[in-house]
Amino acid sequence: MAITEFRADFPILKTKINDEPLIYLDNAATTQKPQAVIDAISAYYTADNANVHRGVYTLAARATAQYEAVRDQVAAFIHAPQRESIVFTRSTTDSLNLVAQTYGEQVVQAGDEIVVTAMEHHSNLVPWQQLALRKQAKLSVIQLQPDGQLDLASARQLISDKTVLVAVAHSSNVLGVTNPIKVLAQVAHQHGAIIVVDGAQTVAHQPVDVQALDADFYAFSGHKIYGPTGVGVLYGKLSLLQTLTPAQFGGEMISDVTWERTEFAPIPQRFEAGTPNISGVIGLGAALTYLQQIGFAAIQAQEQALTEALLNGLLAQSAVTVYGPQSVAQHGPVVAFNVAGIHPHDLATGLDLGGVEVRAGHHCAQPLMQLLQVPATVRASVAFYNTTTEIDHFLTTLQAVKEFFQR
């Protein structure tokens, strides 16, 4: 089956925006959902809905089995050595905060150093910044090369024996670069630090092997990988998760409760307080099954072709500045840019009138915007279901909008 045929599985891609066919190029913010995911959620509520882990009756057993099967699926998907390493959360943000509220609270001490990179999303910066402020630890920022790639020399210089934790995006949601996690993990581990990887922008676009990367924690969101909103994943090394006290309490995360004290359940239950997002987890399972049907080989080939058309098309236009690497070899499916003299908001509104949905703003990376010396950028990001025709249409519309404002 040709990759372009999968596009038909996404009902929203047949709709119109402002009387123009929808051209959805904000995939880095959230992806669209295939019918298989929508159907899995409906099917769950239509035939299997019950609370998990609690009931001895058939319906509850069915719901629990489906929920827990997705844990196996996720473990296999990111090559985790065991299912117990997979904790279901609300989102990447929730996963990263969970690490800050458990490992961060329980391990980081005054004088310790936490290292982040200059390209982090607020979700992988602010939790560490606030933890550092609470703990009187120091936050250091790995710098970037002029083309937006991570400066490994800066990383080697900043990560020292004082470092307890390195927090880094696997791929940037602005610059389109993917970071050398394996190398960073090695450097961190040499100094006795752990590495927390934000995989929000990566898991939908390339195979991830948390063991090969040697990541201590790895976080991602369901909604950015064709799954539902409200579900995220935190992978943690077994040996780390086992030592941590949970940060949220209640429901089935206990083993024994008296008025005075509580014994917590084994991992991963220990970190899943209260009724989880059952339909969300099941929807995520359907998304992973769907993705695996297509296969990453086909996805990567298509997304590279789209990125090439997008990047080169933008670079060919006058007055356009592209942030991050200028060559497709280093550039993932996210392209941030600006047009001289036109505010990103005005560009996005113009494109929107042509049915083209792109993001304008700081992309939750305000400090990176300061580094780039812009208040905001436009960002176009592709998924395998986009077409080169759409990219062409985007480029033509952009040209027309530019002419409107430049007249």
């Binding site: 123009e20 505010h343 908001h345 009138l353 700081h362 208040p375 027309a400 909008v401 409107f404």
Partner: protein
Amino acid sequence: MSLLKLNALYQTVILEHAQAPHHQGELLGVQKTTLNNPTCGDVITVQLVVDADKINQLQFMGTGCTISQASASVMTDVLLGHSVPEAQALIAEFSKLVMGEPISAASQKELGDAAVLGSVAEFPTRIRCAMLAWHAAAQGLEEASKHE
């Protein structure tokens, strides 16, 4: 894509204000009120002087999109010379206008060029841009009243 749609939002008078804003620049020694639009990073600073219960001076600084710049420019035109209560009433009317609520013909007239920004009502995500300078002015007026 139909450029007609772009014309509906970005009418000539708006583009003109954005390209050559009125009353832009710093008033030395006058208190500043700064507001930002976290979604896009736009920042607007408003400075005003109330004398004998009239807004005698009113300027703005900052960067932003066409809508926020044009709106700041027309805001200064509209509010200058008005009393504080009058200005507050006009801000309220402008707010209604960009939210798509009906306003009286009299208000419409008083708002002058600002009335053109009524087109923003059809672009919900841009309402914040249009309101930024006016919100800053409202806050500046409140502070000015306190100091009296």
